[in-house]
């Protein structure tokens, strides 16, 4: 245990190997355009955007190509200057084919991004900022892809006092947020006034884990004089980047079961999201690329890249090169990320990293055979929200989905994977829980 001032943290959690050294020192580099960029219309939680370009139409990089469908939706922008090849189905990480806009780049174009009407944090009203965030297509870049403007629009009667800028980046291998804090500190600081003004919160705290001391120093130095911004350094622990854990760690407040951070007067925004707001809103531009980490033992040219949205994984992997025994590719980190089933899946706004594993890491499946639960209780000590994964696992095996939800708070599980990580019997607990959660949601929808 560390002594103060690093004593702020949450109870339970785990310590997976960090594996960040390969890429944390590598500066962000611009990634080339793929022969065809595939921009899915659904890259966020909510309703898909509505395409507003036609086949054969020429588009400019950063131009809006799809408009939001209602409030729970965001705009999409062209990742490249080129021509719309077609609008058709493309595979998505959700396991479905989703409508997407296929854009073929012009080889000779200067690729100068389009700009729109600028928004100034000092003069704009909160409503204008929220509308501008939606128009810029900004979603939570930490992986959940929740539309940021929905988060900023506080429910009636709710007030927030603290804005947390989440730079914890507790997932192994991922270093994209780390590099954003080092290289785009000014953008982060430019984004904070927008968020404070839109939500009416009084102060902002940038939360960084102690394995990124250099980023903390840069962020501290970048705070403009007179701004109500501070930087907190937290001890390294997984899943500190989960917003409920971060709020507990920094403020000692507990988000109620089924509640939102705003219920305890807090808002949590990922540091990369904040940087994009600070960079895009003053130019009136839309998000058409994002910073992500390409790493893992299966990848040759590891690094942090600024990748155009819609770059197919096949092109991305072929560009950076991969080991011949690459067996598994994840979007996101190895704890919460998703293994992909097709390399035609494109990079979306929610992609925090692309991690490649070889046969050496994925190992021999036969050796990892599942054994019966002996109720050792390791998972109880790992669960950051104090559930009983052991009991839930036994119930899941007997398909007692509703009982799991009613008596054991299944729906509060945010699938961090800590229980599965520590389970000595190799029981795929989170996978069980995800099946059960889906069954409960389906039953609820059918009952309505």
């Amino acid at each position: 245990m560390r002594s103060s001032p690093h004593s702020k943290t949450f109870a339970h959690g785990v310590h997976p190997p960090e594996c960040k050294d390969d890429t944390s020192a590598l500066p962000i580099r611009q990634f080339p355009f793929a022969p065809v960029q595939v921009v899915p219309l659904l890259q966020h939680l909510g309703k898909p955007a509505i395409a507003e370009v036609a086949e054969g139409q020429e588009v400019v990089r950063g131009q809006r190509i799809a408009r939001p469908d209602g409030f729970m939706s965001v705009a999409m922008h062209a990742p490249v200057s080129g021509v719309v090849q077609r609008i058709g189905l493309a595979p998505a990480i959700s396991g479905r084919m989703e409508p997407a806009i296929f854009v073929r780049p012009f080889p000779g174009s200067t690729q100068e991004p389009a700009q729109g009407r600028p928004v100034d944090a000092r003069t704009a009203t909160p409503e204008q900022i929220i509308a501008a965030v939606q128009e810029a297509g900004i979603v939570g870049l930490g992986g959940a892809s929740f539309p940021t403007h929905v988060k900023l629009k506080l429910p009636d009667g709710k007030r927030g006092d603290t804005l947390l800028i989440n730079g914890a980046e507790c997932e192994p291998y991922l270093t994209a947020d780390h590099r954003v804090m080092l290289e785009h500190a000014a953008d982060v600081m430019a984004g904070i006034p927008f968020l404070l003004k839109a939500t009416g919160t009084e102060r902002a705290i940038v939360c960084i884990e102690s394995n990124k001391q250099d980023a903390a120093a840069v962020m501290r130095a970048a705070i403009p004089p007179g701004q109500p911004v501070s930087v907190e350094v937290l001890p390294v622990k997984y899943p500190q980047g989960a917003e409920k854990m971060l709020i507990t760690a920094i403020l000692g407040r507990e988000v109620p079961s089924g509640g939102l951070p705003i219920d305890v007067g807090t808002l949590c925004v990922n540091v990369a999201t904040c940087a994009e707001i600070g960079q895009l809103l003053p130019r009136g531009a839309g998000i058409h690329e994002r910073v992500l980490t390409v790493g893992g033992p299966g990848i040759r040219k590891k690094g942090n890249y600024r990748v155009p949205i819609g770059t197919p994984l096949r092109f991305l992997l072929e560009s950076v090169g991969y080991e011949p025994d690459l067996t598994r590719v994840f979007l996101g980190g190895p704890m919460m990320g998703q293994a992909v089933s097709s390399l035609d899946i494109p990079v979306t706004k929610g992609t925090t990293g692309v991690i490649g594993f070889t046969a050496r890491e994925t190992g021999n499946v036969a050796e990892q055979r599942e054994h019966p639960c002996i109720r050792c209780g390791y998972c109880l000590e790992a669960c950051p929200i104090f559930l009983n994964p052991s009991m839930l696992g036994l119930l899941a095996r007997n398909e007692q989905h509703q009982r799991m939800a009613d008596d054991f708070h299944l729906m509060d599980c945010f699938e961090c994977g800590s229980c599965t990580f520590v389970c000595p019997a190799h029981i795929p607990l989170v996978q069980h829980f995800r099946i059960s959660k889906r069954a409960v949601r389906r039953a609820k929808a059918a009952g309505k």
Partner: protein, 286 residues
């Protein structure tokens, strides 16, 4: 002396309560039709819910009160239904036989995998990992969730990892419809012989890369049977309200995605290729 008091007190209490229970039994007696018990005894006790009632007892009540016909119970044998009908002196109520149908024909021999899924051997688990390893995003994952869900052993996985429904055993209870994460099962009248065995919403020959018997949305079946078949979401939709006892639509189908189901299994049109391919093809690392 004290223990005698105790015995007397408890004994007295027992007598009083017993009297109360006896009186209540007489006063509050609910007259229930004895035929409900008898009918329930004649039902198969599967409690499957295929009749639309929560279980055999509620169904027995409905039959006795005349709200349902005995024929609604698809699990009973013909004699069983007739016995109940004659016992109650009602009409059997000929219920048309309904069965579960699978809208996929992409077994291992014709469809390829795009990734190899390692994990819980269950379709619902595989479907959560980016849709599973099947090349076609709509296709059957072949991990037998439906086979496990079926109470009546009516679903058996064939050698190509594709479930086959035994129409004799199927009671149309709908458990497989719920179990399938890809929503490939639906309950249909057994007399519906024209069947679209594909759910792919992709238009064009792209689907053939993943599955040789997929629907390419060419629309020939709709052209050959105007009115009966319409193309919706790149798939033919059969209007079973119309006269559907015709094999015309299957004749020109290039892949055999639309079939005619009869006792020997699915019949394909003459134009459908004879598709022979052994084993799954793998070419993408994941």
């Amino acid at each position: 002396m004290l223990f005698l008091t105790a015995i007397a007190a408890i004994g007295g209490l027992a007598v009083v309560l017993a009297t109360l229970v006896a009186v209540a039994n007489k006063k509050l007696y609910v007259a229930e039709d004895p035929r409900i018990d008898a009918v329930e005894e004649m039902l198969p006790h599967a409690n499957c819910g295929a009749c639309g009632f929560p279980g055999c007892r509620p169904f027995a009540e409905a039959v006795v009160t005349g709200k349902a016909k005995p024929g609604k119970c698809t699990v009973s044998s013909d004699e069983g239904r007739a016995t109940i009908a004659s016992f109650l002196g009602v009409d059997v109520g000929a219920e048309e036989k309904r069965v579960a149908r699978l809208a996929c024909a992409g077994g291992d021999n014709v469809a390829r995998d795009r990734a190899s899924y390692e994990g819980l051997a269950s379709c619902s688990a595989a479907a959560l990992v980016a849709g599973g390893g099947k090349g076609c995003f709509w296709g059957c994952l072949g991990l037998a969730d439906c086979e496990r869900a079926c109470t009546f052993d009516a679903i058996v996985m064939d050698g190509q990892r594709l479930p086959v429904v035994d129409e004799q055993k199927c009671t149309a209870c709908g458990d497989c419809v719920v179990a399938c994460p890809k929503d490939l099962f639906s309950v249909h009248e057994a007399s519906h012989r024209l069947w679209v065995a594909c759910k792919s919403q992709e238009a064009g020959d792209g689907i053939l890369e993943d599955c040789q018997v997929g629907c390419t949305a060419c629309g020939r079946c709709a052209m050959d049977a105007p009115g009966l078949i319409t193309m919706r979401g790149n798939l033919p939709v059969v209007d079973y309200q119309k006269n559907h006892q015709t094999k015309t639509p299957i004749q020109r189908c290039p892949t055999g995605a639309i079939v005619w189901l009869d006792a020997d299994g699915p019949q394909k049109g003459a134009a459908a290729k004879k598709i022979i391919r052994k084993g799954a093809r793998k070419d993408a690392p994941t």
